[in-house]
Every structure is written in structure tokens, then in C-alpha cells.
Subunit: 355 residues, 2 copies
């Protein structure tokens, strides 16, 4: 095992001391970067980009060339799994992801099975290996997947929604069918993340983008329970090193304690949560990742510095904080504002790490 030269991310996720607060940014390789848009147009579609390990590596590295970020994250999409299940992922230009064959019939749900990641998702694993080689052990690489529930939302609706009527209709009227989908998804996500770890991912993150649309009770039964299954199925170490797990339920601020309790090393926070209060609630049970409002990056540099300082101060002294936005960076963000943010985190966090 060789820890990366900059191991602040891995140390912070495991609540070990670091000289400053590490920072990375959800969707850091993305449309706010002109070089990303160039590669994207060379690739063809967004999916062509995801499926080409060489180009996926290229865009993964782009933000690292601009900003001294403390981690890389695999460039991919959470919907590669249902695509590998045969649902037919596509992206209508200017709209979100869609499936050609969403789950409509009971027999389709009964027939669903977890894909072998070494087969249908080989292209992702190749990207992970290639990115690891390109990173040359300078900073760690984060792998990721969608949560079983979030994947189910897209698989049932066929696209992103705000109210998820069909998913909830199934949840309340035919919970047995939703549980069947979630069991298959949990198996698939575990196998997929283990394959990413095997290929070189040094930490993994579960994105539960839609868990926050559920009622308190339904969240426990239909999202958290399957996050727990995924985590229980993951390799705890690889090559002698612990592989930390980050779990992020957007809109899950009320449920942080229960997220920490199912085996997350770090809990992701959206920007609605006061990170100081979250720390008081979670205590020593997990590290925290977050949680600046992405909209702060539309404001001038002074405001970005001020709001960054507020998040750092709210968390307070000591280890266990990975700085991030509370959601993916907006495509309308000026890249130079991201530079201001990264610099501010590194500079302003040092006083909080004096031993």
C-alpha cells in the first residue's frame, strides 16, 4: 500500500489530523470548464465521453490542472448501472438523462438482475485504472455510484422528476415491487463499487440524490436500509489501506445520525444544514463533507471568502471535515471563482488545524 503524496482527503475522511482542510468539488469536471466542453464536443455525446476511458481520464484531470484540489473523482454517471441492466440510457440534448425502457410491468421488475461490472461496465473500470496511472499517486481518486433508491427513481420514472409520482405510487401501493428493485440495485451497486476499488478507487461515495423526497419512515425503509446493504457488501480495505465511504443524501439533514449509523465514514451535507450543528449531532461517529451553497460561487471573491470562512468556523477546530459544495457546481459558475474558493479553504483552514 502506498498512500498518495497528498493524503489529506483520506486522513480527513478517517478523522485523522491534517495540516489544513482538504477540498474537492462535486461535479468538478464539468460544464463550467471550457476545456471540458471542448473534450465533450470531440467525444460526441455525454455517454460517448463516459464510455471512452481515455477521454474520461482527460476530463477527470482537467480541474486538477487549474486548481490545487485534494482529490480527483472518477468522471462517469450514476446511471451507468441501470444502463448496464438494459434500460437504454440516453441524453436528450438540453434535457436530463432518460431511459428508453423504464420499468413499467411487473415481469420487467421480476426479470431484473445485477450486471457483472467486469462485463457491461468494463469501460468504467478501465477509466479508473487509467486515471490512477495518470494521477501518479499525487492525490487520491474517489469512485462513486448512485444509491439504490435514487437509481430506482430513474428506472421507474424513466427520467428525473421533482415529485416522483410513479415511484411513490409503487412505494405506497406495491412496496414489494419497489423492494425487489432495491434489492437488485443494492447488489449491483456493491459489486460495482468493489470493482472500482479493485481497479484503484481509494475512497467511494454514494450519491442519494433523491432520498430527500421521502417521508421520514419511507427514507429508513426504502433508501437507508439499502445504503446499509451496499456498505455491508463493500471491501473495507484494498492493498492494505482502508477505503473510506462517503454517503450523501441530498435533503437528508434530518437523518444525519442514522446515516452515520449504517457504516458511513463520512456524511455528506447539503447547504441547508449548519455544519456545526451537524458535528454536534454526529460527534465522533463520522467525518462530515460539505457544505457551501453552490450559489455562493456567483458572488464576488470577497463574498466567496466570507462564506467559506463561515463554513470553516461553523465546523470549528480539529479534523474530520472535507470541504465541498452542498451540491454539484453549477454550469454557470466562473472557473476563477472556483480558484478563489479552493485557495480560501486551504488558507483560511490552517488556524483550525493547529495542534
Amino acid at each position: 500500500m502506498t498512500r498518495p503524496k497528498n493524503d489529506t482527503l483520506l486522513r480527513a475522511l478517517l478523522r485523522e489530523p491534517t495540516p489544513y482542510t482538504p477540498v474537492w468539488i462535486m461535479r468538478q469536471a464539468g460544464r463550467y470548464l471550457p476545456e471540458y466542453n471542448q473534450t465533450r464536443s470531440r467525444a460526441g455525446s455525454f455517454l460517448d465521453l463516459c464510455r471512452n476511458p481515455h477521454l474520461a481520464t482527460e476530463v477527470t484531470l482537467q480541474p486538477l490542472a487549474r486548481f490545487p484540489l485534494d482529490a480527483a473523482i472518477l468522471f462517469s454517471d450514476i446511471l451507468t448501472i441501470p444502463d448496464a441492466m438494459g434500460l437504454g440510457l440516453y441524453f436528450a440534448e438540453g434535457e436530463g438523462p432518460r431511459f428508453e425502457r423504464p420499468l413499467r410491468e411487473e415481469w420487467e421488475i421480476r426479470d431484473l438482475s445485477a450486471p457483472d461490472p467486469h462485463d457491461a461496465l468494463r469501460y468504467v473500470l478501465d477509466a479508473v485504472s487509467q486515471i490512477r496511472r495518470a494521477l501518479n499517486n499525487e492525490i487520491p481518486l474517489i469512485g462513486f455510484a448512485g444509491s439504490p433508491f435514487t437509481l430506482a427513481c430513474y428506472m421507474i420514472e424513466g427520467q428525473g422528476k421533482t415529485d416522483f409520482i410513479e415511484t411513490k405510487r409503487m412505494l405506497y401501493a406495491r412496496p414489494d415491487l419497489l423492494h425487489r428493485i432495491l434489492q437488485v440495485n443494492a447488489q449491483a451497486v456493491s459489486a460495482y463499487l468493489n470493482a472500482q476499488i479493485e481497479a484503484g478507487a481509494q475512497a467511494v461515495m454514494l450519491f442519494d440524490t433523491w432520498g430527500g423526497v421521502l417521508s421520514h419512515a419511507a427514507y429508513q425503509e426504502f433508501s437507508l436500509r439499502y445504503l446499509e446493504q451496499v456498505l455491508a457488501g463493500l471491501s473495507r480495505t484494498h492493498d492494505g489501506a482502508l477505503v473510506p465511504r462517503i454517503v450523501f443524501t441530498k435533503g437528508g439533514g434530518l437523518w444525519l445520525e442514522s446515516i452515520a449509523a449504517v457504516g458511513a465514514d463520512a456524511v455528506g451535507l447539503d447547504w441547508t444544514v449548519d455544519i456545526g450543528e451537524a458535528r454536534a449531532r454526529i460527534g465522533e461517529r463520522a467525518a462530515l463533507q460539505g457544505n457551501l451553497d453552490p450559489a455562493v460561487l456567483f458572488a464576488p471573491p470577497e463574498a466567496i471568502e466570507r462564506e467559506t470562512a463561515n463554513v470553516l468556523a461553523a465546523f470549528g477546530s480539529g479534523s474530520g471535515h472535507v470541504f465541498n459544495l452542498g451540491h454539484g457546481v453549477s454550469q454557470f459558475t466562473p472557473p476563477e471563482h472556483v480558484a478563489v474558493l479552493v485557495d480560501a479553504v486551504h488558507r483560511l483552514s490552517r488556524p483550525f488545524h493547529v495542534v
Copy 2:
């Protein structure tokens, strides 16, 4: 002062004993009812319907003819205030509300002033009086307004959004301008609700539909503070009776204690909150209103009964609970499922009110 014959709503809002849990439903007069759609098409546009006191009374009464609800709520729209400020409200068919003249320039914000409700909003007050007469003191009438922050979102964006980029850009870059808008809005909302109380509203509700998009700190500064100003400006009693105030911040589950602390008699809950935990957090400081997931109404009657029973049991014994959905009823809801819900609340709640 004469309390309405069925005063369970008013009693529950003030945490006085009731024989059962009162229930009303956000958007209970609306598109899921065929008779509403008929009146609506007779009226012309949605706005024509709001502006015609006779027709507004008609649709307010429609759900009461079907279901034994414990309250009526004024049929109107939260955007009547910015419309009266001259922003030019209109509804594009099949889309949400829009403004012809959203706030774009600093001078427009400086020129903004609170409308006299007895002038530009006379039609709402006429509707309140007419509905009160039609109700014949059988059940109470709830008046309502949007929160200063939620109104500001529409006034700045010109329409509903999911990310509110322009509002947040102003919040972080020019907080002075946003505060100016919010001050005017708070004045306007207080005056408007006082006029509704004067005209006969027996309880009032503030809808903070978009407060939940804010960070913890920004919510306190830009939404809650102005909710507090509105409440401080409201008539506490009318005609010898206390006028209870309900405050509902959608997505505000993390901030319930602070909402109760600014002078709300009852705190509205969306469905992501466990109402039992909310009760434990708020204690004797306020009543609670909510919070069934509106999607439950897509499920069969057995599931509706089961989920209703779960909410009632989570709240537990004693007074201080007004049953409602956690958000407005969906236009795709079968009306007969609303009947099942109302009956279930009345029937299943009695054991929780035995003295």
C-alpha cells in the same frame, strides 16, 4: 365574538382539547375536483377566478360540499401582493405563474412600496367577507399570504425556479437590495393579513414555499427574520377572539424550533419530518400541522388508512395537532381518496383524544 359551531381547528391550533384531530388539506379547492375545473373554465383565466369574489367563494365551498373538512381556506394566490405592486402577474397555460416586470434594476427595488390592501387587493377582502357569510359560522375560515422571502423569489426570478440563481446572486452579492425587497414585502404581508382578519379570516397561514432552498444562516437572516416581522405586525385578536397563526416553511424541518420561537401558534410540517420527533423538539411552544406525503393519496384506500394511522400515532395522544398533507394536494388525486383520508383522520384520531 362567536366561535364557529365546529371550532376544532381553532382549538387545536391553540393546543386546547378537541374530541378528534381536525383536518383540512392544502389546495383543497383545486384542480383535482371536476367542479373546480368547471368553475375555472367559466371564469376564464385562473386570475379571473381569483379576482371574482363570487366565483372565489364558489370554489372555496366546493370541497366542503364533498368532505366534512374542519376548515375552509380562502381561494386565492400568494402572488396577489406583487401583482398589486405593479409587477404584472400572469399565468402561461400549462406553466406556473409569471411576472411581466420582474425586479431587474436597482431603481425598481428602491421604488417598490407596499400596496394598500383596501385598494388594489379589495377583491380578496370581498371574497373573505362573502365566504364568511356563506360559511354561516359552521367552520372557521383560514386566510393566508406568501412569506416575504417566497414572494421575493418570484419577484426577482419572474417565475418559479428550482435553483433561484438570481435571488441567491443578490443574496450573496447585494444583500442590501434583497433586504430592501423583504422589508417592503413584510410590511405588505402584515397589512394584507390584517385586512383579511378584519374582513373575517379566523386564522392565518404564512406559506414559505421556498425558504427551504436557503442555507441555515441565510434562512435565519432572509426568511425567518421577516416572518417574525410579519407576525409582530399582526392583530392578535379580532372581535374578542385570538387569531392563530400557522407558519409553514417547506423544507424547513431543521429549523422548527426557530419557527416556533418567532411567534407561530402552529408550525407546518412537510412529509420529510417525523411528526413525533417534531413534537418532542417543539414541546409546548406550538401546535403542529401536517404531514402526510401527498403521494399517499395515489395509493389504494387501505394504504391511505395505514399511513394516516401512522401519522396520528407518531404525533400521539393529546391536543395540538391539525392534520394536513405535507404539501398541496396533487391535481392527479382521485377525489374519493380524499374522502377516505378525511374519514380516516376523524375516525382513527378519537382514541388519541380520550381524556
